[in-house]
Every structure is written in structure tokens, then in C-alpha cells.
């Protein structure tokens, strides 16, 4: 089981689906960001699984995973700064109360 590519791909698919559910269902903006982190981790797991089982992709997958981790860190930084900036103005972290443009 641990020596077959399928089990790792299924694991990352399930993780991605869980992240999708969290992103669509949660009201708190920070929870949505955490769900995005889960989805990014699932994508990274897919890349590394292919790298571990397909010989020509081996080192390339590791490099791509490193770059994905760096970009995810940048995304989390900017996303959380935006949430904090909105919280200063609206006094709530809940996304369905960000309805200024509806009025």
C-alpha cells in the first residue's frame, strides 16, 4: 500500500476535497485561509508523490514543491494582512458581513 502511487494520490484528493468544503462552508475569513493552506498542501503532496514514483521527475518535483511552499508563505502573509486591514474597518472576521457594496 505504501509502495503504490494510487494511495498517495487518493490521500491528496481527499485532503483537497476537505479543503474545498472548508473554503466554501466556513464563515470566518481566517478559516477560509486555513482551508486554502490545506488545498495547497494537497497539491504539493501530489507533486511529491509523482516525484517519488516516476524516476525522471524525481528532483524536479522536489524543486517545484520548494517553490510552491515559498509562494504559499507569500500568499498566507498577504491574505492575513488583508483580513486584518478589513477587520480594522468592519470590526468582524465573518465574510458574509462584508456587504458594503450591496448597499
Amino acid at each position: 500500500m505504501s509502495n503504490s502511487l494510487d494511495s498517495y494520490l487518493i490521500l491528496s484528493g481527499l485532503l483537497f476535497a476537505i479543503g474545498t468544503f472548508g473554503f466554501l462552508a466556513r464563515r470566518n475569513a481566517i478559516s477560509m485561509l486555513m482551508s486554502i493552506e490545506l488545498m495547497l498542501n494537497a497539491a504539493n503532496l501530489t507533486v511529491l508523490a509523482f516525484g517519488a514514483f516516476v524516476a525522471p521527475l524525481k528532483t524536479h518535483a522536489a524543486v517545484i514543491a520548494l517553490l510552491v511552499i515559498a509562494v504559499a508563505a507569500a500568499e498566507a502573509t498577504v491574505g492575513l494582512a488583508i483580513i486584518i486591514a478589513i477587520f480594522r474597518n468592519k470590526k468582524t472576521p465573518l465574510v458574509d458581513e462584508y456587504d458594503t457594496m450591496r448597499d
Binding site: M1, L14, I18, T20, A25, E37, A62, A74, P93
Partner: protein
């Protein structure tokens, strides 16, 4: 005394036990991240899921990526998320509705997505080896600093820009401080 490849008497491989354990911890903690009411606990469950994913990266023969996962995700991003939670916490937040009103539609979409992904994985014959390959860290270093040196530099510029942008976005308005003083 050397330990064999598999558990004695049962013939179950230690690798499989380790994989199943890490996968179970990963999926359960990820489910807790998206379903728990208290958002601080969600953040702590997220740390557990990142740690088990680092274990799976080691199983996939990538100790460098596992170390980067621990340093960047557990060390930096989780702390950032916990700080943001504490900055945006309101007193009545945990008592209020955690999910949107269309949660059933979101659950349906997630289940359909999972079924589609699983069907696509199981229907495809992957040109994969039956063994996990170990990635040597020196090979990764050679590739990163020779062939991928331009993306590497672009990512470093992106990180600098992101940090500068985050500081600009999250700082207080200077006008309010002047009003306090006057």
C-alpha cells in the same frame, strides 16, 4: 536486534502501518480544521495536519521538503495564522454560527469533487514504479541553483514584495495617531 520488513506472524509491512497511521492523522485533523467551532483549536489541528504531512514527505523519500514543511508551515505560517486569529477575535465569535447558510451545497460539492478525483485516479494506469525512490538532497541543490535559478530569484523577489505589502496593509493609519495626540 534488527527489525524485519514486516510485523512478525501477520506479514503486514511496517511501511504500510506507518502510512495508514499518518494518513489517518492527516485526514482526521484536516476534518477537524474545517468543522470545529473554536477557531483557535482549528489552528492547532492545522499544525497537527502539517506535521503528519511532513511525515508522509519523509516516507516519499524527500527529507529536505519535510524539513521545509516543518520550518515554513509549522514554524511560520501557523504562528502567523494564530496571530491573525488573536488580532481578529471578538468575544462572541465562537458562540455564533460557524458555517454559511449554504453548507449542504458546499458539502455536496466537496463530495462530488472527491468522487470525481478518486474515479479519475483509479481509472488511470499511471506509468509509475512499484518502489519509492529516495531523492538525494545534493541533486535537488544542483538542480535548484543551476537550472531553476531564475524561478528561485523570482520567488525571493516575490517574498520581499509580499512582506512589504503585508506591512503596508496591516499597519495602522498614521492619521488616527495624530488625532490622538492633538
Amino acid at each position: 536486534m534488527p527489525i524485519g520488513d514486516s510485523i512478525p506472524l501477520t506479514g503486514i509491512r511496517w511501511d504500510d502501518v506507518l502510512f495508514l497511521g499518518l494518513a489517518a492523522v492527516l485526514l482526521v485533523s484536516a476534518l477537524l480544521v474545517v468543522t470545529m467551532r473554536d477557531i483557535i483549536r482549528c489552528g492547532l489541528a492545522m499544525i497537527v495536519s502539517f506535521a503528519s504531512l511532513a511525515g508522509i514527505y519523509v516516507m516519499l523519500g524527500n527529507p529536505l521538503i519535510a524539513a521545509a514543511q516543518v520550518l515554513v508551515y509549522i514554524g511560520a505560517i501557523s504562528v502567523l495564522v494564530l496571530f491573525a486569529i488573536m488580532l481578529t477575535q471578538t468575544k462572541n465569535a465562537p458562540n455564533r454560527l460557524v458555517f454559511q447558510t449554504q453548507t449542504w451545497a458546499a458539502a455536496l460539492a466537496a463530495v462530488v469533487l472527491a468522487v470525481l478525483i478518486l474515479a479519475a485516479i483509479l481509472a488511470t494506469t499511471w506509468p509509475a514504479a512499484g518502489e519509492r525512490l529516495w531523492t538525494a538532497t545534493s541533486d535537488v541543490a544542483h538542480l535548484l541553483f543551476r537550472d531553476y535559478v531564475l524561478p528561485f530569484e523570482v520567488v525571493s523577489v516575490l517574498l520581499t514584495a509580499a512582506v512589504v505589502g503585508a506591512v503596508y496593509l496591516a499597519r495602522r493609519e498614521p492619521s488616527s495617531r495624530e488625532e490622538d495626540q492633538s
